[in-house]
């Protein structure tokens, strides 16, 4: 942890975070959902102004979805991973599009692939999928193979066992 990062962690202690040091320049802080926006605001005011990525992880056993914001600083090259866990059965969160306008698209994507509603972000048109008719596809209880089998028929191959055996014995070239 560099000096400036440890100073920032000290500032963030009032939010009662769980701090994990992944790397010398990468720190993960886990906070409760109601404090995320305040933490992000603090980090943005202290140099971590670049939202590199916003993504989601499905923890199906805990019945939770984890939202992760990855912030990057152009001043010291450090990264902060701000993470929070929300309820999986009725996933709702607030938008951060006021802080980073680009978050609109990340939120659209997360809405599309994990089904999270972002309050305040009205534009929730699908970005990638067209006419999707199943549960959000990156949730762990969605079975892509089953869906593919149902929707996209496979080519049927006839297996020629005798020919394969001959190739195996080296009688003919495969």
């Amino acid at each position: 942890m560099t000096n400036s990062m440890s100073n920032l962690v000290k500032i963030l202690e009032s939010f009662n975070p769980f701090v994990e040091e992944i790397d010398e320049k990468e720190i993960k802080i886990t906070v409760s959902p109601d404090k995320v926006v305040a933490v992000l605001e603090t980090l943005k005011a202290n140099g971590y102004s670049h939202l590199s990525l916003m993504t989601c992880v499905d923890w199906i056993d805990d019945n939770q979805l984890e939202l992760v914001y990855i912030l990057f600083s152009w001043e010291d090259g450090g990264k902060f991973l701000v993470s929070t866990r929300i309820d999986r059965s009725n996933p709702k969160f607030v938008t951060v599009k006021e802080l980073w306008p680009v978050a609109r698209f990340y939120e659209r994507e997360i809405h599309e692939f994990f089904g999270v509603e972002f309050e305040g972000n009205d534009d929730m048109k699908p970005l990638f999928l067209e006419l999707w008719d199943e549960r959000p596809p990156l949730r762990k209880d969605f079975d892509p193979r089953d869906y593919s089998r149902k929707k996209f028929p496979d080519r049927e191959y006839e297996k020629d066992v005798i020919k394969e055996a001959k190739i195996f014995r080296g009688e003919i070239n495969g």
């Binding site: 990638f128 999928l129 067209e130 006419l131 008719d133 199943e134 596809p137 969605f142 892509p144 193979r145 869906y147 593919s148 089998r149 929707k151 996209f152 028929p153 496979d154 080519r155």
Partner: protein, 178 residues
């Protein structure tokens, strides 16, 4: 197969020597086309040239996997092309889905939706394989065997039904089509 008249045979012979290709670069296979087109392998010596619009193209070269979103555009493109038209499925993903066989958004076989004249196996095929496939297609055109566009016309209902089964609706709803 119906017997061709002498004029059709002559026409086919000329057709096979001047093929314009629309390469619909959907996947990583598109990477193999620059060396095929440019000086190293130079496909223009076979009379094959890249073409920008579907209405002037003869071959639709599908390079790589297709997901449901691109398949809609492919069907649009294919139906825009003027007869006679030929389709080459490039890479194992058009044959049986390749490594994306169990994906929720990629289709598993192309000839279920549009007729394919030649498949090139491999992940990915080398430029030599592409040229080999072009030569094979030219041979087929000369013999009058490359009749995918006729099959599409005759079995239109079957193809349409398959398209609707997998896509729900073929019509594209986006800012370019509405």
């Amino acid at each position: 197969m119906k017997e061709r008249t002498i004029w059709e045979q002559i026409a086919d012979s000329f057709r096979s020597r001047s093929i314009w290709m629309l390469h619909y670069c959907t996947g990583c296979g598109a990477m193999e086309l620059p060396p095929t087109m440019t000086a190293r392998f130079d496909m223009e010596r076979f009379g094959i040239a890249p073409m920008a619009t579907p209405r002037q193209a003869d071959i639709l070269l599908i390079t790589g996997y297709l997901n449901t979103k691109t398949l809609r555009r492919v069907i649009y493109t294919y139906e825009q092309m003027a007869d006679p038209k030929y389709v080459i499925g490039f890479g194992s993903c058009t044959i049986n889905g390749g490594i994306y066989f169990d994906s929720y958004s990629t289709i598993n076989r192309l000839d279920y939706y549009i007729p394919v004249d030649v498949y090139i196996a491999g992940c990915m095929p080398r430029p030599e394989a592409i040229l080999e496939a072009f030569n094979y297609l030219m041979e087929k055109i000369r013999k009058g065997e490359a009749d995918g566009w006729k099959r599409y016309r005759e079995n239109y209902d079957w193809y349409k039904q398959n398209q609707i089964r997998s896509l729900g609706e073929v019509y594209v709803h986006d800012e370019f089509h509405e």
